[in-house]
């Protein structure tokens, strides 16, 4: 390990600079400093998320209703399952990382190589899962109508499930009555060549209203969470009135401006925090790959120490640590 550190000939002398009160190398200490500052960055984000959530505490989207999808299982509502899988993958890759560090302590090159490889695979699976989660979130589920005040109105009907009346969501595609319209999306090729327009909403509010009028079973629910911890379902008359008088924009999916799940801040924080975390995982994978090749090339074998694996390991565990908190505050609480 000392090959990367200049020797001053004062080792062991308490006041000569050779004393190491923390018993850790320079590189490891710097990694700890970085981790502390990065932890503060993440807690800043999560605390800001908490701020916004407290601000809209009575109308924040319910995570169990937002993240219900699992790949290959279409049309089933399985909240938490996929994100639990992602959490497990990340913890698992943390384990392979710490096993690599342990193998490094025993100067076992073959094992370090194997465990580093598994760690990289785990990280890649996690980033891929997060990309899928993003895509599903952006694409949206049932669609909704945004009011002039920026609130979200969603659609559904009351159905009996096991003798209990439950509110079942209905997709806007299933009831909207499409009308002929002259409005076409403005593209560079059919209009001014120097400006673009964002893609148009899938339906107009009027089409949704017509559909709502025609289907007497459909009700609207607003964002307000009632005493049972569920969103408030409006009466039939109120549903029609809300869409007619307050409906402004049909929303499908989510982006930084609007989202069909509720308060737009929810989507903003989702993109920002999971995005920033995903970026950390991505850079962790890249660093892991670099270290992996160094291990294969025997750099650390020649150096006589696998401390570099330990340092990148610290970073990797930190990414896992952050995910534990993101998981709690985005999906559980």
């Amino acid at each position: 390990m000392d090959t990367t550190v200049a020797n001053t000939g004062t080792e062991g002398k308490t006041w000569g600079g050779g004393n190491r009160p923390l018993g850790a190398s320079y590189g490891k200490l710097m990694m700890w400093f970085f981790i502390v500052s990065d932890a503060l960055t993440f807690s800043g984000f999560l605390a800001a998320y908490g701020f916004s959530r407290f601000k809209f505490i009575e109308e924040w989207p319910i995570a169990d209703e937002v993240f219900t999808h699992v790949p290959f299982l279409h049309g089933q509502e399985l909240p938490m399952i996929y994100v639990a899988f992602m959490t497990f993958i990340l913890i698992m890759s943390s384990v392979t990382m710490v096993l690599a560090v342990d193998a490094g302590h025993h100067m076992n090159k073959a094992k370090v190589t194997l465990y580093m490889f598994l760690t990289i695979i785990g990280g890649a699976i996690f980033v891929g899962s997060q990309a899928w989660e993003w895509a599903t979130f952006i694409q949206g589920d049932y669609g909704a109508v945004q009011t002039k005040g920026g609130n979200i109105l969603q659609f559904g009907e009351n159905v009996m499930v096991d003798g209990e009346e439950k509110f079942k969501r209905i997709s806007i595609e299933d009831f909207a009555i499409v009308e002929a319209t002259d409005r076409v999306e403005h593209e560079r090729k059919n209009g001014l060549w120097f400006v673009d327009e964002a893609s148009l909403p899938p339906y107009s509010v009027n089409e949704i209203y017509k559909g709502l009028e025609a289907n007497s079973n459909i009700l609207v629910r607003n964002q307000i969470i009632n005493d049972e911890g569920e969103k408030t379902v409006l009466s039939r008359e109120e549903s029609l009135r809300q869409i007619k008088e307050n409906g402004q924009l049909v929303v499908k999916g989510a982006n930084l401006v609007v989202n069909e799940y509720g308060t737009s801040l929810f989507a903003d924080f989702f993109f920002f925090i999971t995005g920033f975390h995903g970026f950390h995982v991505f850079s962790g994978v890249v660093i892991n790959i670099i270290i992996f090749f160094n291990v294969i090339l025997g750099t650390y074998e020649r150096r006589g120490s696998y401390e570099m694996v330990e340092k990148v390991g610290l970073y990797w565990h930190f990414v896992d640590l952050v995910w534990v908190f993101v998981f709690t505050f985005f999906y559980l609480v």
């Binding site: 390990m1 800001a48 909240p79 938490m80 096993l99 342990d102 534990v324």
Partner: protein, 148 residues
């Protein structure tokens, strides 16, 4: 290089023979904790969905009571359980995966106390303000109207 690892977790309740075994042991523990969280998150037992204590009205001591017991008064028990379990997981990731258990006391305190103090401060300020803005939005004579 001698790397001495402390091979005990749960205050010495569980002892492992080697560092590798300890890692697997911690993995099993973390998996169990995550599984508990997921099961609670899916089923949401009714008894955990409502606060157990109500805030006290009155003078100074009532306020003191509300502050000291605030996690039980203002937070759903389920959320409190989630947060406690998260901190438990964070502890074992830091202590056993990041080998904080094997570092000197000074390094441990330098990292943990600094972060914990600053994060608590940050959370306190922002959540307090969030609650305040909520009040501003939702009082009877609020100047801002959002539901239209």
């Amino acid at each position: 290089m001698a790397h001495a690892h402390k091979l005990e977790i749960f205050q010495g309740l569980l002892k492992f023979k080697s560092n590798t075994q300890k890692i697997w042991g911690v993995l099993i523990f973390l998996t169990i904790v995550t599984a508990i969280e997921v099961v609670l998150g899916i089923y949401k037992p009714d008894t955990l969905m409502h606060t157990w204590l109500d805030p006290m009205e009155g003078g100074f001591f009532a306020t003191l009571y509300n502050i000291i017991l605030s996690p039980f008064i203002y937070m759903k028990p389920l959320n409190l359980i989630f947060i406690v379990l998260t901190i438990v997981k964070a502890y074992y990731i830091t202590w056993d995966f990041m080998h904080m258990r094997d570092e000197t006391k000074a390094l441990r305190r330098m990292v943990v106390w600094t972060a914990v103090f600053l994060i608590c401060y940050l959370i306190f300020i922002l959540l307090q303000e969030g609650g305040y803005v909520f009040e501003v939005y939702n009082t009877k004579d609020a100047l801002i109207k959002r539901d239209f």
